[in-house]
């Protein structure tokens, strides 16, 4: 009897353990899809691109053709005139598209907030539509509008001011402003919505109190609205910095990458794409992507420092 006991007891215990284990395992399997997808499409490319940036690799030659070059790709990118040029273009777009976006969006949001009661959603929606429209569709429409010989813009300029046709997207002098305008137009609505949402949570009593103290609308805007919008301004400007430094779609689709003039709108993201898919130099392309990441991180940090400092001693 004593000898049989351990067997009789052990069997149910073991079965229970297996059962328990399966039950313990099940939740992990249920959350596995996210982690598997994240590992495959999120983490792996990230880590692999660091690894790639330290190698010379033409993908058509297969994985075996990878050659360790250390930081040479980074040095190579930094000494490439096109990289410097792409950086200049990117910074130019960041400033010329980004600054007006906020200078216009903020007053516009304030105007919509204070002046529209009925139909406000429709107005906001109208400004927001470009943001949710496909960039390819936008590029196609603007290519037609900007057309040199058949475009509405040139026809209007000629009819109103007698200006000769301008090759907007085919002349290095005009491609940049044309593309910048489209980017500005596209993201204006997004910033208006951000500022509007922040305006809506400002306590109305503050304005009433200020009005009782004899403050006009301008002083209310300057002393109540602006300071209280600062957190949202920080958020919106950060998004603009990140978005503009990664600018790719609009210049890539609007200006034929095959044409010489495309160099005038070649952002760092486009340069990276061309290095990889046109020149087959995936190592340097990865290095460029990490250099771009460093620049974005640096500017975002500087932006945060700037906003923190300007909050001043009376921020609390």
């Amino acid at each position: 009897m004593r000898a049989a006991d351990p067997i009789d007891v052990a069997r149910p215990v073991r079965r229970r353990t297996r059962h328990q284990r399966a039950r313990e395992l099940a939740p992990y399997l249920f959350i596995a899809p996210f982690f598997v997808l994240f590992l495959v499409f999120g983490l792996f490319p990230l880590v692999f691109s660091i690894y790639l940036s330290l190698h010379q690799w033409d993908p058509t030659e297969g994985l075996a053709a990878m050659r360790w070059v250390g930081f040479e790709n980074y040095w190579f990118a930094l000494t490439d005139p096109w990289f410097r040029r792409s950086l200049w273009n990117t910074l130019w777009f960041s400033v010329v598209c980004g600054v007006p976006q906020h200078l216009v969006a903020l007053p516009l949001a304030y105007f919509i907030h204070t002046s529209f009661r009925r139909g406000r959603d429709a107005v906001v929606g109208a400004y927001f539509v470009p943001y949710i429209t496909s960039s390819v569709a936008i590029a196609l429409i603007f290519t037609t509008l900007f057309s040199k010989d058949y475009g509405v813009i040139n026809s209007a300029l000629h009819a109103l001011l007698g200006i000769d046709p301008i090759n907007w997207l085919g002349d290095a002098h005009t491609t940049k402003p044309a593309v910048a305008f489209i980017v500005f137009w596209r993201f204006l609505g997004w910033n208006v919505v951000l500022y509007l949402s922040a305006l809506q949570v400002i306590d109305k009593e503050l304005y009433e109190a200020a009005a009782l103290d004899g403050c006009g609308r301008w002083r209310q805007f300057w002393h109540i609205t602006l300071p209280l919008l600062r957190p949202m301004m920080f958020f919106a400007v950060t998004l603009t910095i990140i978005g503009n430094l990664q600018l790719f779609d609009e210049p890539f689709i609007l200006v034929d990458p095959e044409s010489g003039v495309s160099l005038s709108v070649m952002t760092t993201a486009i340069f990276m794409y061309r290095l990889a898919f046109s020149d087959g130099d995936f190592g340097t392309a990865s290095a460029v992507s990490w250099l771009l990441f460093l620049i974005i991180a640096l500017l975002t940090w500087a932006n945060s420092r700037l906003f923190n400092r300007s909050e001043g001693p009376d921020a609390d």
């Binding site: 059962h19 399966a22 039950r23 099940a26 399997l29 249920f30 596995a32 899809p33 598997v36 010379q56 033409d58 993908p59 058509t60 030659e61 297969g62 994985l63 053709a65 190579f76 000494t79 490439d80 005139p81 096109w82 290519t143 037609t144 057309s147 040199k148 010989d149 058949y150 090759n167 085919g170 002349d171 290095a172 002098h173 034929d256 095959e258 044409s259 010489g260 003039v261 495309s262 160099l263 005038s264 061309r274 898919f277 046109s278 020149d279 087959g280 130099d281």
Partner: protein, 419 residues
């Protein structure tokens, strides 16, 4: 317990752990051909013949848009997975793919593809060969360069075909008359002149941008002249400033605002089918100005080293490239120009082309194809093309001196091609 098991099976199926077994069985009997439009129409047209010759091997034509196809093939070569049995490669990518080492060397046994060489347009094979003599692909179609022009427009301007072709100077002079008398541009883009003139005076074995030792040639006189002539056309206001394949370009050609276009003979098919279908009888084809024979584009078929059905793939490539009837069928469905000489000698070549006002232009194109030099390709050609395009743009828009632009281009090309 049972619930957990069901959940595990569902999870496993969701994650794709159960799928593989089913696919492997059919792979051995299916020949996968990866291609792109319009070339895919040639493979589809040949599918009936293939089915008759090889009833046991199913032909599967996978077609992606032109840039997507080449990106997908680059990725497939990189990872070694998702490779087709037969890979169509456009001329622009053949240099890079040929140098990659990811494709079967068709010069070696059992293919011995170089034995076919004499049966093809003489310049087409070297385009698919790497410096070590390996043959990465077999040409299917070629693009003899021609000057297509609007006969009605040049007649209105009092210009003759000979004025357009005698020399580059007379071409530009004719353009000035056309612009003054009809308002039409001589050509779509000043860059078109540059792209042809940089090919002038090349002999068999010469490269456009690099010599045999990899030395960069962009400061040579032909580049200087190409830049000068291109700039002259722009300064005289003779080009529409419209890069090929843009809306601006197609509209200009459609409405007769562009009088001439230098391109591969295959452009005639595009003009007829969709760019300017209403202009039947108005266009003509002639040689390129200045006595230059050049080619525009072309398509090739290759076998990846890791392809599953290499023997069948080679059979398919031979059918598509070396079979006279298939080549002629491709010509009919695509308006492509066959790389196979025997197909070029078919009586079909003497037939008049209604779109070109009854001109038997294929004879002319055959003659041009025979004169095109067998230019050596370099895997950095497309990168060098980018540099030259950009510097040319600076010459046009920023008044950058030509010598400085070409010197900068050389430095940049040397920098990029350092490895």
């Amino acid at each position: 317990m049972r619930r957990t098991s069901i959940a595990l099976v569902v999870m496993a199926a969701t994650l794709g752990w159960i799928a593989p077994g089913a696919q492997a069985q059919t792979a051995s009997t299916t020949l996968v051909v990866a291609t792109f439009p319009d070339l895919d129409r040639a493979a589809k047209a040949a599918s009936a013949t293939w089915a008759k010759l090889h009833p046991d091997i199913t032909l599967k034509v996978v077609s992606l848009q032109y840039p997507d196809h080449h990106t997908a093939m680059t990725a497939a070569l990189a990872t070694g997975s998702g490779l087709p049995d037969v890979m169509a490669v456009d001329f622009r990518f053949i240099g890079k793919f040929a140098a990659s080492g990811g494709l079967e060397d068709l010069a070696a046994a059992p293919y011995n593809g170089l034995g076919l060489r004499d049966r093809f347009a003489r310049y087409s094979f070297p385009q698919a060969m790497n410096p070590k003599g390996g043959l990465a692909a077999i040409p299917a179609d070629i693009g003899p360069g021609t000057l297509l022009y609007r006969k009605d427009i040049i007649e209105r301007a009092g210009v003759t075909e000979a004025d357009l072709t005698r020399s580059w100077e007379s071409f530009i002079e004719a353009g000035k008359k056309i612009r003054a008398k009809t308002g039409a541009y001589l050509l779509a883009n000043a860059a078109d002149i540059r792209d042809i003139v940089i090919r002038s005076g090349l002999a068999d074995g010469d490269g456009i941008y690099f010599d045999a030792h990899g030395k960069v040639l962009v400061e040579s006189p032909r580049f200087v002249r190409a830049f000068e002539l291109g700039r002259a056309a722009r300064v005289a206001g003779l080009d529409a400033g419209a890069p090929a394949w843009t809306n601006e370009w197609t509209t200009g050609l459609r409405h007769g605002r562009i009088a001439t276009q230098m391109m591969g003979s295959w452009l005639t098919g595009h003009l007829k089918n969709w760019i300017a279908p209403d202009s039947t009888g108005l266009w003509r084809s002639t040689v390129l100005p200045g006595g230059i024979s050049a080619s525009y584009g072309g398509s090739f078929y290759a076998i990846p080293k890791r392809a599953a059905n290499k023997a069948a793939a080679w059979e398919f490539i031979r059918l598509m490239t070396a079979d006279v009837q298939t080549q002629l069928d491709s010509l009919r469905v695509l308006d492509s120009f066959p790389a196979l000489l025997a197909a070029q000698n078919d009586p079909f070549f003497d037939e008049p082309i209604a779109y070109l006002g009854g001109q038997p232009a294929r004879r002319l194109w055959r003659e041009i194809a025979g004169k095109v030099p067998a230019i050596a390709v370099n895997k950095y050609d497309s990168m060098a093309t980018d540099m030259i395009r950009s510097e040319f743009e600076e010459v046009l828009t920023e008044d950058k001196p030509i010598a400085k632009a070409l010197a900068d281009a050389r430095l940049l090309i040397e920098h990029r091609a350092r490895r």
